[in-house]
Symmetry: C2
Subunit: 265 residues, 2 copies
Amino acid sequence: MASSLAAGSFHSTSAEEYTVTAGVIVIGNEILSGRTREANVEFLARRLNELGVRLLEARIVRDEMAAIVGALRALSPMFDYLFTTGGIGPTHDDITADAVAEAFALPIDVDAVARARLEAFYPKGSLNEARLRMARIPQGASLIDNPISVAPGFRLGNVFVLAGVPAIMQAMFESIRHEIAGGPRLLSLSLAVPLPEGDIAQPLRLAQSRFPDVEMGSYPTYRAGQFETAIVLRSTDAALLDRAGGAVRQILRGLGAEPRERRGF
Amino acid sequence: MASSLAAGSFHSTSAEEYTVTAGVIVIGNEILSGRTREANVEFLARRLNELGVRLLEARIVRDEMAAIVGALRALSPMFDYLFTTGGIGPTHDDITADAVAEAFALPIDVDAVARARLEAFYPKGSLNEARLRMARIPQGASLIDNPISVAPGFRLGNVFVLAGVPAIMQAMFESIRHEIAGGPRLLSLSLAVPLPEGDIAQPLRLAQSRFPDVEMGSYPTYRAGQFETAIVLRSTDAALLDRAGGAVRQILRGLGAEPRERRGF
């Protein structure tokens, strides 16, 4: 990959390469009240990365029509793919399907296929009015299989509407991952040393300007009174990543620390 | 509290009561790459709730000027308080202070007080150019103490700029919590039963319309093939919360389940 002069951007900007991007909207008051720790962004970030898609933003919003509609309208045009999690169950606070219909000005009604799936799943008499709401799908959407509790998610354009319960969200994601067309996968190399960031920052800045097409992040942790810093390099170009990794390794050794290395994300 | 007819809103809407609100911006590529699981939103949500402030939205954005500036400009006018976490260290990817200056069109330079704190903390000779960047503060901001590693956060208007490392972020939050003027604290009652949401949804909807000023959320979990549902009621009015709790308790007992109850958030 030719090294381009990245103007004010730290990530790969080679003109030939198109970065496939995604956003996530997490829907649920329970996250914003601190009752539940958010767990879906991490899964989606990792799986998307494996598929060559970069998650660029995540928003956590309340179970309120205006908040969900606003986030859908803002993020759908910004990214190649947009995922929502949460708010597709049978209770009165599950309003995601209606919010998607509202956001894109589409009619919404009980979908025959979704209804048939629920009818086949629930014992006779237990498919009540509330459960039937889970078959409400905006016009033109395609269903997303739910191998755990049947009630489907759906896809509308670039928006994938998934469940909030992590096990169900993950199963839904696996059932649509063939619909995700990623770009080159972002490779990463992490070099961790027991040094504070401030010792590394200056030579690292020089390394970043020598390798503008490699994204270099510095992530400090603080545990039991000790700082550790992980320098994470990311690029779609394995050879370039290795060269940049060699330069950063030399910097860290020059500071007297042997880096603990890990490849992955 | 007089029960008002809440039009399309599930939370407390009594005319006399002003809800104090907050937003959070989490800054960091490491969250969006799946490398690090986000941990600051949960802490801020809980502590804000204790102070009578409701967290209404959180955004996770990349370490990029346009992304941070955009989120700051969008969220600062929307909420009473806005907190940012991350991006205030010494490395080239720490650009939060500059982004705040850019967002609000303010000059930024090394602050004399912040510089003096760093000079007192670091051994002679180790306060290098990179570390000195941690003293860059937008004009007019007030410093936020960092009892762990000295480099300060800052407050500018309703924006509180905190560290990303959880231990430091939490210490910074405690040092500014007296600056947070909350409203009445939101009380909550959780009633958990080993029933799927669909069994509860219809009577719960009726309970919600009987108590429009009590926010009722339904949170399913799925573990080892079993669904459990927690109904969480939230209100600033303890007596009203008790009455609504009584109604929901009756519904759940009517379905043959004795709820496991918990107060808190």
